[in-house]
Symmetry: C3
């Protein structure tokens, strides 16, 4: 096409090369051939054939480039980093992840009062699908199949279009304290504290609004009951709450976390045939899950509502960390106002130097990444930990009927993080339960329990 | 290798370039170098070195091209289009998809007779795996985990080698009407009509044969009971049926759908200790799923078989659409022949101009694709709809014992399709149930219900 | 940059081309331009412009090469070979697989004594996730959802760092015989033998150590109960066992397999209110799974422990194969020692010439790969098979209370392997059960059963 090969023309072609780099390929050859032809170095006939050959070459390269473009466009990126199966569209507007977790427990228990014995348990066996849709939308569906029993965990639609606000609709964790907000994959002991089990809200089906900055989070939620709890013959219970966290320090190895949460649960119970009007039961296991008994146990009649208030704190200083939470619950009944409370305190130390991984944007702890990985020639991370929990379900009044009234639990923990996703845990638990006025007023439960854990 | 550089030789190379485009690369350079050498423009020594350099360049490009070929061959294509995670082999003979759906409902109900109250419900929580094997085979495994309860949905093997016929073996929808054939992801109201729930066959475990053309479908099936319904101590119930649909119009915005279905259910029940001989119960909720009560309710004793007959029609005219179905059931018992029937009619209108998406090759409606998508700067699609259902379970005879006998239900619906896969729905339902001869012969149930929905 | 174009310089560039093949691209052109400029064939001005154009071309090619490198690095390989969805990281240190199986059964049964009748059943409906983490670690989570019932199958963490030893912790098959060790996807008949169901250990939650060579395997395991069996109010039962297999012949079409297994089960039962002290029940269906009845049935009281001993053998000779297993069980009770045993023998023949696929490294049979595949123009593989099982649960003593005491079962099987993963099976089963001392001392059960099967 180009008849003249002035320097200006070549310069123009050169500039164009940036705009269409692939098509520009072999332009240099074509230009050279033109120059050589114009100068008479090659004949017009040879020019024509060589130019055609050059164009053919150029097309071959273009073909490869187009194939690469097509692969990039048509094929979402697949990542197996750390063993997590993640997919992402070329433009990052869409993503998906398929995963789960396995926790298999073995416990050796000494508890004469309740006849609980040694046993094994699939503590968690979860599968999830989650994803991002058109940038602003997200979803997660997570189910637990442990011990042949189906339990819905996360099941929600989220909208992140009003940054930094996230809206979630469906079943998810709402307005909980620090231990509850931290995934079971990342908690320091095999079980969260009994305090947490007695007081935390957990997952509920409702709407939450969450926001935050680099070192604070705020979440508020309005919810009905969780999945599988619907009282279809009457109005379902509902509740609302909020949580605020602030981290004056949130470095990789130095963290100070402070948090507060409050929650009101409204009970809509109507009298049941043969049952007690609006009875609510608050009970929990002694930081040992393989046993049947939930010895810390109170029943309250005629309950209208319950207010839960929680305080959180945690400090990370290199391999050391300390964490504590306090909860109180005030229960309004038709006859009395009942109050009880509890707290726990624990410390942990990484023998191998790692730090607990605080996520200031989430107000919770995340994955511990061992500096040395088993499978890459390393030895993993080793952590020792000690927790003390204090439970007090005692109160007076006609409405309350407490079985296991007070107690404390001491847990010694040893964690081996073989890889970032594989952890083995050993916990020795010494729990005390007071049953005042019964023939065995004091029960001691001791358990040595082991866990193998992986998430993927 | 080439000693001569005649035009013919170059022409030959040029032709060869098409056959092996990648290897041909830099042939132009090699040819030019030969010409220049032959003409004495460059020395033989320089020719040799330059030619080797050119070949080396050529190999580098070839290497890239081969890598691309290997990627294409070894890696199945992964697509996240619309958020759906799909895999396809290079030759399209194999494919796979992992997905699911979440529907979370919130209902506010006024029904004094039955004490049903406000509540939330995970209406659907499904996960599926499906795929194509060696072109002609397919499978789908879909389970619902909603409300911590496991329900098998699709679970079948399909063969598509006898085109246009598809054979399916296993649990799947057989010979149903229009509303039942339309996925719950795409139905216009939160619930299918009560009529559909009372009369449609649903999913059964059996063998179906389906065929069709561009505007018609035919399906016939022979089935035993659905999954989880096996009467292991006696012969299992079985049935057979067929459905034919025809769409005189099946354009994108103008559709006329007509359909007819017939089904016979054979009951193999034998007397049960303490039970009634061959009792069958037909009952349904009033287009509100969160409530326990299924007020439209009849029990028929000594049932041998039941014949169901259905008529379907739908019209789409741009943003407008109208849909209606009529069903009748004739039940043969040892003493009487009992008959009842019902119908529904509804209209819908897209305020934002979209049309309901009729799939003539499936005889059902598919996904509504909003022209404006939330997350891409848009506002989604908005649809208003109105449905009227008429239920009549009344008949005379010794065999029949009807509780909620007659009734009608009016539903006002508002749908917001934020994206093609995310939809929010609001339905206001006014249901009437007649209980003749009881102290409350007439019950009115009113419900305002909301749904968040996503499929992936 | 290069001012001189001596042959040595060009030779040096040429050598460098191997080290950085992509960057070297168009070096030949640049060198040629230099030669032409130095010889005065082109002007210095044209040289500069042409050289820049050539560099620009070069960068375009480099860009493509880098994109390919990035694709290779960032995207795990996705394979759909045979319909199996597998992912593998670039360095093979990580992998993942998502899959499952569907088996849908239809049975026509004649058994007057037990009233079992015709029926359908989703025999297996499984989904699994498995993967490899940092080379040495692996996991598998497999659940069965058949008939709307959740059953945990594999759920374990494995470590393969001590080659050739594999450690597994969690729920998995431990120390079983040949038929039990062979996946239900690959067994010859629709059901494993009644002998296997009565005696094999199956999956348990514990720790196993497995090793082996090219033609032998050894596995030993210590376990508590399987998932979902925890006796939370007492110590859980536990057991231990081992299996050794050896294949003097293990060619593709000629195999001789020998195996032996031993297992001790310790029962930790304590007296139950209203129950019998330590009663254990051993019972099984007659190689027909759709029926409720498990007629071969013995109850033993006061059981302390049970020892199971198994012998295995199999021969493959081209399309022919023969397989047999013998099991005995000795049960220690507080009053008696009870013994019973059983065996089966079967032969199979591939009409289409394939061989059963013995896996010497696993000590079990694997996938049959038809030489001709339906969907690729082929007809699949056809196999006929015949099995005889002999059951003897008879023993004397105060502790034992046997219902269906003795019996034998003959099964005729026809298998059509349409593809490597899709199989259709027909079994005709004739089972005999002796109930000595009852009014119907001899029961004959006949069943014709069909299965459609796919795994993915």
């Amino acid at each position: 096409m180009k008849k003249k090969t002035s320097s200006l023309l070549i310069a123009g072609i050169l500039l164009g090369a940036t705009a269409s780099p692939v098509l520009a390929n072999n332009e240099a050859m074509l230009n050279l051939l033109q120059v050589l032809r114009d100068q008479g170095t090659i004949t017009a006939e040879n020019y024509r054939l060589l130019a055609n050959a050059a164009k053919s070459d150029s097309e071959a390269i273009e073909k490869v480039a187009n194939k690469v473009k097509a692969i990039e466009k048509n094929t979402a990126t697949v990542s197996l980093k750390g063993g997590h199966l993640k997919f992402k569209s070329h433009d990052s507007a869409f993503s998906a992840q398929v995963g789960g977790r396995i926790m298999t427990d073995y416990a050796f228990i000494d508890d004469d009062r309740n006849m609980d014995g040694d046993g094994s348990e699939m503590r968690r066996a979860r599968v999830f699908l989650k994803g991002k849709i058109f940038n602003d939308w997200a979803y997660k569906a997570q189910f637990d199949f442990a011990e042949d029993s189906l339990t819905t965990k996360d099941l929600y639609i989220a909208y992140k279009g009003f940054k930094p606000v996230t809206l979630k609709l469906g079943n998810h964790k709402v307005a909980n304290g620090l231990e509850e907000s931290t995934s079971s994959k990342y908690i320091t002991f095999m079980e969260r504290s009994t305090i947490n089990d007695l007081f935390a809200v957990g997952r509920k089906n409702g709407l939450s609004i969450a926001t935050g900055g680099s070192n604070w989070t705020f979440m508020t939620a309005l919810h009905m009951d969780g999945v599988g709890n619907s009282n279809a013959d009457q109005d379902e219970d509902y509740g609302y709450g909020a949580r605020l966290t602030f981290a004056p320090l949130s470095g990789k190895t130095k963290t100070l976390h402070l948090g507060v949460s409050a929650h009101r649960q409204e009970y809509e119970s109507t009298p049941l045939v043969g049952g007690t009007y609006g009875q609510q039961r608050f009970r929990a296991r002694p930081e040992i899950h393989t046993i049947n008994t939930r010895p810390y146990d109170t029943r309250i009649d005629g309950v209208d509502s319950a207010d839960t208030f929680g305080l959180e704190s945690a400090v990370v200083f290199g391999p050391f960390s300390v964490q504590a939470e306090y909860y109180s619950k005030g229960v309004s009944t038709t006859t009395d106002d009942v109050d009880f409370d509890g707290w726990y305190l624990y410390g942990s130390y990484f023998l191998t130097g790692e730090s607990r991984n605080y996520k200031a944007k989430k107000g919770s702890f995340g994955r511990v990444k061992p500096t040395s990985i088993v499978g890459k020639g390393g030895h993993g991370a080793w952590e020792v930990a000690l927790r003390y929990s204090d439970i007090d379900l005692y109160d007076t009044g006609a409405a309350i009927n407490t079985m296991g009234e007070k107690g404390d639990i001491t847990t010694i923990g040893l964690n081996w993080y073989a890889t970032p996703t594989i952890r083995f845990m050993a916990n020795y638990v010494m729990a005390n339960v007071e049953y005042p006025g019964t023939t065995n007023p004091d029960d001691d439960i001791k358990a040595f329990q082991l866990r193998g854990q992986i998430d993927f």
